[in-house]
Symmetry: C2
Subunit: 576 residues, 2 copies
């Protein structure tokens, strides 16, 4: 029985920060060496951060990333490291360097390049066609990258058939609800099918619209989870793996199936890694129960990390939030305080003639509970100035959405003034239901740098608040915020339901149309009201121009707005 | 000698308007039949419009597009039509249907799917692998799509080697400066190399950020342009082609080269089209000089068409523009009047305490020259209301960019109020130089639905104004607008050069960094000042968050902002 101590470095790089990321990688290598690990694996594109987008088109960026890799290589005395970076050879490749004893032994090129959803990898990378198996003191290891393991014709299969005992799959896999479970199921099934141990290492951290959730794990060749890393935090996992000499052999039928699956693959090359590195201590395999979070906790943690990283990685010290006394701004403020500390969160309450006493009480009550400052600034005088200035040009017209939008835009201007004066980032508070139907004012409540709950449907906003209160054990978010009727308070006695169906009816229609590409007929077949559905779909289509100018926000569903859903503004398609 | 009358239908479809596009196609078919054409070819994805983006992910959209194709097919009595649509067979394909006598004879699938720049075709489509040659009353025809003809291993080569006399290449090729010439050169060289006639049909019209410039053309087998369609307008070209029996044979060496180039291709199938359709009259080939526009005229026409189509296709009747008396708003207003008619263009002049007499004179003078209304609205009272409201919170701070941005955002709010009240689209007036370095106020002068000159560098803005005046034969744009120093007038005696290098120095740096991916070292090697270049590159990088919330605008350079340049906001890469 051979033993191998493997370390999975679930790190949080910053896109483009080549020296910073290299430093972080080297620091993990040092820690892993102290823990006597034989091998340490880093996430996909750990050197550049993920996704580097069009930075990849700059030849000097590619060169600088290779220099950064060399600086990492110089720190691999006495250990073997697998490091994601961009390799160049005529074209560029999403790659994993196998570095041992300061020497780059081999470079693996990703075979399957995702080009759907938020991914644009075929815009940049060429596909690899060689799937090596490395022999490491008698233990055979195959390395591959992210999407490679999801494909029916996975390089992992080729590597298993060619004798790999262990597959190391490095990832930058972004979060959406339920994704962690999908990954474990798929990897577990592959491991037991191929009779290999699979180590899955994921990135962690927020990058613009994406949150990488970590949750790295190792499954044995029966597909059982041996060990699992934390969610939404950096971690250096080490696991001792025992590999029987001769390994679990595949049965004749299984083996033939795998060999058949191999047709059309490029060559599998076998390489040896110096075995001098192997100094493993004897330890026993431990089985750990796979960690699972409640869906509300999972989403909340994603929003927390996404917000913290956007704010910090972009160099802001504080944030400013328009607190209306409603549920959306309550959730955003709660998350912001959790993510950044209360001293870095600044609430502004901007009442008008239409603002209720309850709204004021709720906004101030919540701010008090959180221990943050809240500044009341009436917009009425500015609003009057607009009305007076515009009155000659609006003569003979009725009050309409124009006057409502002016109010929202005054609030946007005030928040931006705080941002400009004090360097605080404005967090917007719109949810996915509003973003979908365009129930939001462009340059008004949509004005800001980061839209924390842009991908959170309104019904889930309530659930997250309830989860947060139950975690706290008291009504940190005042209870009335959760049961009173939602209103924009832009005219007397306004209610969201004046313009929209109730959210429990609205949200399923939105999900069906936006996330699942259902047709009108399919949606009404589920029992949704015909008139209501028609109106909602039309609102979604017509709001595309607003979404195009919305700030980025955190993806938590299978399909978010932004890079995940690319829609024409000019679009006359109507299926309803 | 056989003769064939070919019609190229350079049409302007609307994305998603399946019934409208089908109607337009049928109408061209009827015209072509009256002109006794044997074959009519339409642009790439003529049925859906281009690019349909994520509409392609909706199965019902694909089904509806196929139904629209069937309705087109029903109208092809007595003629053969080549029609771009989306075919489905497990996956979907960017396709050309060959329809003859109401029957769909064959469907060609695009081989090369562009996935760079503004293109995302690998997000949606599978690649074709069969390259038929159709025999049409003894004349052999190969059909392929757009990118197919640009590739070293073009399906056109396979079709030529397999006996095609004529290649019909259908396109949705968006405009950038100089693109028309590139196309002609490439197609001409391919035609003479392969000894085939090539008919290149392009789409025309604006679609969000893109303008398709038309300019369809036919080259003979010596690579000479036989005929060329208009630029920036719909047109039905008909050309009579004479094909010698036995065609120009390729020499042994050429033929071998082509055959070698064929390796790795899928099968070429030969198919016959009923020859009953052929009723060509005898006419002579005519050579026409290829039409060329001056670069300023070309860009101006692109902006004109892009603006007209965005406004009309999105159902707006009028537009409103903040006229400052500066050169940017002067150009945008001139284009808008040209595109939409003066009765549909509404100028608003919004002076403050910092606005000069010259600005007022120039804005009003220009409006008078154009014959449009211009409404003066002072922002001073509203500005005072903001200053007063904010004063307790800004106590002890200096006046800075905050107060400047408040002014710009008041103007944005006023323009949006006109938009909301009267249904006019706000056209923004920022140019590419400003967009690059972020010399613009988010939600201020950046507020609006469409950014006409977003991709036009400031130095080109001047050239376009000069070209426009010289075309008019008088100073339609008052001369002072073109020679006075640019200023935002947001504080006393402000000049653009307080914050930026002079535009003739700035624009080449921007082009090198944004459009050509040059490194800092490469840029200063061309003689640019080190400090200045460093500061400019840093400004470009830091303005990404603003650009992400900018309205769409018309691409006229090789790389525009928007879908063409996909950059992370969170990005610490620094090469300077």
């Amino acid at each position: 029985m051979k033993r191998l101590r493997i370390a999975l470095a679930q790190i949080n790089p910053v896109v483009g920060d080549l020296p910073g990321n290299a430093k972080k990688i080297v620091s993990s290598i040092k820690k892993a060496r102290r823990k006597k690990a034989d091998i340490i694996a880093f996430p996909e594109l750990a050197v550049t951060g993920y996704p580097p987008e069009d930075l990849l088109l700059k030849p000097h960026f590619i060169q600088d990333n290779r220099d950064a890799l060399l600086s990492v290589a110089a720190a691999t005395e006495g250990i073997t490291a697998i490091v994601g970076f961009v390799d160049m050879n005529k074209g560029i490749y999403n790659s994993a360097a196998l570095i041992s004893h300061k020497k780059i032994i081999d470079v693996y090129h990703k075979r399957y390049l995702p080009n759907y959803g938020v991914f644009d990898e075929q815009r940049y990378f060429r596909a690899g066609s060689v799937f090596p198996v490395y022999s490491f003191a008698g233990i055979n290891i195959g390395v591959n990258i992210c999407e490679d393991i999801w494909h029916r014709k996975s390089p992992a299969v080729a590597q298993a058939v060619n004798g790999a005992h262990i597959i190391i799959n490095i990832n930058a896999s972004p979060y959406h609800t339920g994704k962690a479970l999908e990954r474990e199921k798929m990897v577990s099934s592959l491991a037991s099918r191929c009779g290999v141990i699979i180590a899955y290492v994921n990135m962690v951290g927020g990058q613009d619209e994406l949150v990488f959730d970590g949750g790295s794990f190792i499954v044995d060749r029966e597909g059982e989870v041996l060990s699992k890393g934390g969610l939404f935090r950096e971690e250096l996992m080490t696991v001792d793996l025992a590999v029987k000499r001769g390994r679990k052999m595949l049965g004749g039928k299984d083996k033939n199936q795998l060999k058949t699956a191999l047709k059309g693959y490029g060559p599998v090359k076998k390489m040896k890694i110096a075995s001098a590195v192997l100094k493993t201590e004897r330890t026993e395999l431990r089985k750990r129960i796979s960690q699972r979070l409640h869906v509300s906790e999972e989403v909340y943690q994603a929003l927390l990390l996404g917000t913290r990283d956007y704010v910090r990685k972009n160099g802001f010290r504080g944030v400013v939030i328009g607190m209306s006394g409603g549920v959306d701004s309550a959730l955003v403020t709660t998350i912001a305080v959790d993510a950044l500390g209360r001293e870095n969160v600044h609430g502004v309450f901007m009442p008008s003639r239409y603002t209720s006493v309850e709204s004021r009480e709720d906004a101030f009550g919540h701010a008090k509970n959180l221990g943050i400052s809240i500044t009341p600034i009436s917009i009425d005088k500015i609003f009057d100035a607009y009305l007076k200035t515009m009155s000659p040009y609006f003569k003979g017209t009725k009050r309409d959405i124009t006057e409502e939008n002016i109010q929202a835009r005054i609030r946007g201007n005030i928040l931006m003034a705080f941002s400009n004066k004090y360097g605080w980032l404005v967090l917007t508070t719109g949810n996915k239901s509003e973003m979908s139907v365009g129930y939001a004012t462009l340059y008004g409540d949509m004005a800001g740098g980061f839209a924390v709950i842009k991908d959170v449907p309104k019904t889930m906003v309530y659930k997250l608040c309830e989860w947060s209160n139950s975690r706290e054990g008291w009504d940190l978010i005042p209870a009335r915020i959760l049961w009173k009727e939602p209103t924009a308070e832009l005219r007397p006695d306004q209610r969201d339901t004046d313009s929209l169906p109730p959210y429990p009816l609205l949200d399923p229609i939105l999900k069906a149309y936006v996330e699942e590409d259902r047709s009108f007929d399919e949606i009404i077949a589920t029992g949704c009201d015909i008139q209501c559905t028609r109106r909602v779909l039309s609102m979604i289509d017509h709001a595309e121009y607003k979404r195009r100018q919305a700030p980025p926000g955190i993806k938590i569903t299978e399909r978010a707005f932004g890079k995940d859903r690319r829609f024409p503004i000019t679009n006359r398609y109507k299926n309803y």
